[in-house]
Symmetry: C4
Subunit: 485 residues, 4 copies
């Protein structure tokens, strides 16, 4: 195929013929336009020109290969065109947000001075691009659920036991039979490249260093293979499955990760449509206003950016997911196509926990998707507490995990007292890798390990088996954070 | 009748003879003075001169015709007098508040960027005149009840169900047999012209676009006929009835709306006297001080504006209402004069809900008038919850609605889980039409529809019949809004 | 007796001979020094000179007569000395606090614009001297109890009844058989002259205008006779009795008020020692620092003002009270010396309410002294609620009143729903008279009357007998005030 | 031994040979390096030079003697070297923090104006060095537990009794048979010299003046003998025992204090490892940044100060403590080596209170170490309340004390109502001695005595035996502090 020139590409920018340039290669995406989960408009905006900058941070490298037939790969740009693009990139004026991030990255504190997950988040919030922060931190509606997930832990106090030998104390456990140095895993969280060029691989390498298990999202920004390659051969990876509405595509995805050595499937059931994450939806406008000033009601000359939709990034990610899964149909189907253990991620009430057990899954992850989906879904810690009181038998029949709102080792220990086998964290790992890459992830595990160990010893427990429901009490008041004034 | 001159009119400005000019026509209101619900003083203040500016936004155009005999319609001004008035109006210096509103109207964001009811209210609060905002937003005493109406929803969390087919999801319902695209209606709210020159017609047209039902207030600032004309022939309108203490006048009002095609009567029972809405009462003083500086205790030369009373706008609106209604007398009387379905609006406890059912009404609207009447009336959501627990049979015998404090689709869905057939919103529609006219109202319905649909799907409900009490849990803590610091 | 000169008086300023000048008369207080409830030091500070300015606002005019034998009344100053004192007073530089008050008094809003008790308090806080405000507003320790008294009302919501005839509505009642236009009385509150030169007489005249009953404090700053004279002959006054530890003095006080026509005795039992009112104790230092700058640890030249004690103004007032009263002894003794009805003021739990009934009193006033005595005494509204649940029979056997924290007509109506016969207010009347004199007091009654009437009508009650426990519900959440940001 | 020169000493600054100068004496600490509880690095930082400034405030004078064999005491510096050190000290530029403290010390208010423990703390917070304040005030993790200890008291209200004779009122009691003027003792708190050069002796002398009992910490910054010498022969001292992991060393420590006349052992069981006190851990960095500016991620030239560890000061203090104590082993062992009464300090739940009783101890101190150890340990006041409800028999079998969060006399009285024999305070005494030395401590006792006496009288109790559980009620709401705006 002959190399293309920029001039040639620029002819193809309409819905009747739309080409885009990604990393100096040209693609004909005309037929893909109606299928693009993020909508056709955002592609058309970049039709006929270079889209690498916006494409890269939110797509794995194999996305084009998986979604476009080979015939639509139109080949490379000419050397001259590549030179022009490079020059344009070199000369492009940085946005205010990019300049802000640059400054913030220069002022990051040494990693040694990060004492807690909160410290890590503070740094990450400063060095993340506005868009990345909006995607990572946003939650549904007014973000009550997101805050309540964390606050729920505050209503649980310890009844510590003294005069027990704890000089030896072991916080390790297994999850689905796989060893973990502490009862903590990385819960699936998408688009790590938004925060750091190495993306999910930072988490993979940090998880190895800390000897914990990573659950990789279907919506990872690296390919599943790239992540598997970043892992040590003996390292355990789990896979967070968003089931495609087309069973065949779904099967292909499962077979891919199974062959790559992923060890379990966490079927996500709480995100069949996107939650209403307003900060994320609003972020393109905020950036636009930051550069060009506000847009007013009657302004004729300024038009809002095309391609915005009220479901934001999340909407694009789940656009093709299966909204009609059922216990009767989906679990047996999954069993029929894979031998991997199956965990249901997104159980939000006792009734569904019981149904999941009856459907024969290997584990359940009590989660409301970090408060990003249904606003006012009960906090997982409250669901765990209800499950312990109402159906303690469930803990004997499947492994139970929770995620959402975990900030401290004491949070983890509280969940374990109530019967959780392990506790997942999502955003904290995204923040850690965004700020400090692999070292940040490794540091995070180290902090949690230290906090868990301290809490266990002061509770009088020398192994996780000694963490018992009797050691915890739900109180009828709520501690308040110190006011910062 | 000979045309009048300004000079002639200006002779009549006392309680023995009082003329006023409204839209270039002259009226003798001497005999009407003692009957004016807003008091004689405010009319006397404008006696002998043009009162159009203060009259128009708070009276429907047929108010003069309904209240003044033809003999008191003294005819037009002379052309020269009309010219003088126009000139005066053109030359009148704008008040600080008018200038503020003008500026704010220029800076309204595009409607596309309004993502939530809160966004809409923020804009409306900026572009409304101080007086309109005071009337719309004010509530009784310290406005606890108003805030509690909204906060009550925060104490109800969902127990979402997963693995249910929801790709098809229908949020439509009927109210008294009339279709509504979502389980939401416009609850009666007075004086829309205060916020926008097109007044209630904005809501009528927006309701049609969104396919929901509007309840029109007895105290609308357009005539009932004008509103009916703004509606599509197939569109459903309900009427919020404030019963006049004079039965004959009350009958006339009912017959008028029945003949105009209104489809149901919502008899208002919680506003027999006006609540103590201090912000509204205070608003004329605030405006006066803004223009002329504060008034002090011992100032001789400055006198407070006449015509103020401690019951404010609300007091004027209900001055002639019936304070002696009873279940035994009023409902049968109403049935005797109309075939329209009758709903009682303003039920505030379980006991009265039961009495209403026994009185044979078609529906009850649990409402405390948006917190504008009795301070510390229980939030409707709490009354609904008590009704569900104590008298679930009521839901089988009449349709139950609530209004007050609704801000999100999840609020609507919570009420439906507990058995409400539909949920009313008042202030949000006033804000929407004030800011963006008909388009604002239509946008509001669109937002609610999207939020309701998302909540239903994430709850696992594909129709409103699948929303059940088991899906909701009242919690013993209270979520807090993020602090804005 | 020969007139004294300033020079002569100035010789007597030690504990061996101490003279003071009050309103141009000279008194020998040497023997009184150890008996002075406020301590000897404060008198010695003014020994040998004019003490009128500090004496007047906190002593009734007959205090000298009652406490000093005639032989210690040394007669008048010479005319020349009087001239010198007048000149000194005229030339005295005003303190910063006096100048602040002067300015604030000029900026008081017209009384018509006072819509609520909160409005009144805001004005009073601006125009009161620092010392007066500290005495009036202060409460025990960290003032939790004071705030909780008010917040307790917020936990009670109404279950309003509709469709009841209320065009006629009568809020009047009787207290111990004496008529009151509304179920509200002035609760005993000391030292009204601190806030206004006419002192308690403002309240007396305002109470007459509003047709309510005033309870006069033993520690009034006018004499009991002066207050009686300010009253209309038909007007009802009650007396708040602080029992002197010396029974004879106590009897004399009771006989005095009985002969002056006071109609009942409210025996105060919750203030046998002074509460720890830190703001009051601190106020002299604050004023001193305001004038002269702060006092530091090692400053030699500056010495703290003499006469301060850690019990403040309150300590002085109760220094001679009886700390050993008992049910067995005190009530029979009181009955033996007076025919007036006896109410016990300061009941703080159900057990003591029952003991009071058994001791045969005519009424009980549930009160914790406005939070000024024992910090963490339960709010009276909570005690009332407990009494209603645990011992409803008490309401049939004695009249029950409460005071403390009342700010709104709804507060009054809530207490009446639970069975209170009437509700007392103390501080609000002090604030009202301080700011606007008699007119302020009268305005306060008018506001309460309007608010009570509105609340009763909207509750569906046409008389206070229709206010029932079923109309009120204690809720498990707490409304919050709007943030002022 | 020949005197050493600075030049000679400076040769020994590595782990193979490390000398330090303390108060002009030279010590060879090479072999001690690995045993130093605070880590070897911090010593190496001062190797080969004068370490007096950092050593003194946190080590008792006999620490060197106890920990270093005589052969390692290398003798004095030469006079010339001493002169050089003195000169260096004289010329050393003060740090910003030292200058701040100097200024603050000049502005301390006179002690007479300290009315409450809060007043005292405010002064102390201003005059303490950053490091001392960080150590004294810090608590575990986010310091919820520390705040909750204090807030727990707010949920307990009084049901005061009136008409009881209280002119005579005696707040004195005994603790383990030893008299105390009020039911308050000084709870063990380490490192008083950080706040004041006289250290723990201030507390000893103040406790004597106030006639209360001091519990001396194993980690006192004066030697146990020095403290005993500061005491009056008749004065009672208790000893807070941190048991060394080496039983022989532990026995030696117990025998020492027994022979010095200490009267009881409070075995500390809640601090076997250090809590995560982030403010304390962070304090060296904050000071460093204050002097030299912030340290950034990629700075090459600046390196973080050596010797920091994530367990901070507390970690060093407990590094050698016994983490394997048990009821079966440790209590009998303790009984076998001492006749002193044994109290277990750090009981945090009812179950362990019962085990302690069964183990035959003389008393239990309900404590979570001032919130400095396990975050989310229940507040002692809540544990006391649970113990009263669930196991009231415990109060008859051992003496029960609590500490943590006490700020007011009412807090003390509340604990006594529930059955506590006495209440300990730690931080408040550290603050008092830091600010005002002995006089501050004495003042603190005086304030508490006054507050306890007032509370008892207003409660109707004339001795501590009349404080009963019926006088207290746990409420279901929480009082809020006044906002300071």
């Amino acid at each position: 195929m002959a190399s293309k020139t920029l001039a040639e590409v620029s002819q193809h920018k309409s819905s009747s013929s739309c080409w885009v340039i990604i990393q100096n290669k040209v693609y004909d995406v005309t037929e893909f336009l109606p299928e693009h989960p993020g909508g056709a408009e955002i592609i058309l905006k970049y039709g006929g020109r270079d889209a690498t900058g916006v494409y890269e941070p939110i797509h794995p490298p194999d996305a084009l290969k998986k979604n476009l037939p080979a015939s639509k790969h139109l080949g490379s740009l000419t050397q001259e065109s590549i030179r022009v693009i490079d020059e344009q990139n070199d000369n492009r004026e940085k946005t205010k947000d990019e300049l802000r991030v640059e400054q913030a990255r220069k002022k990051m504190p040494p990693l040694d001075r990060i004492l807690s997950l909160a410290d890590m988040e503070i740094v990450a919030r400063q060095v993340l691009s506005y868009k990345a922060l909006a995607y990572y931190s946003s939650a549904a509606d007014d973000e009550f659920t997101n805050r309540e997930n964390a606050r729920a832990f505050l209503r649980f106090f310890f009844k510590p036991r003294v005069m027990r030998p704890v000089s030896f104390c072991d916080p390790s456990t297994t999850i689905l039979g796989f060893r973990s140095s502490i009862p903590v895993f990385v819960s699936g969280a998408a688009l790590a490249k938004l925060g750091h060029p190495d993306g999910e691989a930072n988490i993979t390498r940090g998880a190895r260093q800390g000897d914990i298990i990573q659950m990789v999202s279907s919506n990872a920004s690296l390919s599943y293979a790239e992540i598997a390659q970043a892992a040590d051969p003996a390292q355990t990876l789990f896979f967070q499955l968003y089931k495609h509405k087309d069973d065949e595509i779904a099967v292909k995805r499962i077979q891919e990760v199974e062959s790559l050595g992923y060890k379990a499937l966490f079927l996500t059931v709480d995100a069949i449509v996107a939650g209403n994450r307003e900060s994320d939806i609003r972020s393109p406008w905020v950036l636009e206003e930051q550069e060009n000033g506000p847009l007013y009601f009657n302004q004729e000359e300024k038009k809002p950016e095309a391609g915005l939709n009220v479901f934001g990034t999340a909407g694009a990610l789940v656009a093709n997911d299966d909204r009609d899964m059922t216990w009767e149909k989906t679990i047996p189907w999954l069993r029929s196509i894979t031998k991997l253990p199956v965990v249901v991620k997104g159980i939000q009430c006792v009734e569904d926990a019981v149904l999941a057990v009856e459907a024969g899954v290997d584990g359940i992850l009590l989660s409301n998707h970090g408060g990003r989906q249904l606003e006012f879904s009960l906090p997982p810690m409250e669901v765990l507490y209800a499950l312990r009181r109402e159906r303690p038998d469930v803990f004997d029949r499947v492994e139970v995990y929770i995620d959402g709102g975990v900030q401290r080792g004491t949070d983890v220990v509280k969940a374990l007292c109530l019967g959780a086998k392990a506790v997942g964290l999502g955003r904290p790992f995204l923040y850690a890798q965004s700020a400090y890459g692999t070292a940040g992830v490794s540091k995070l595990v180290e902090i949690l390990q230290r906090e868990i160990l301290t809490a266990m010893r002061l509770l009088g427990a020398s192994s996780i088996h000694e963490l018992r429901p009797e050691m915890i009490q739900r109180v009828d008041w709520e501690p308040r954070r110190a006011s910062k004034l």
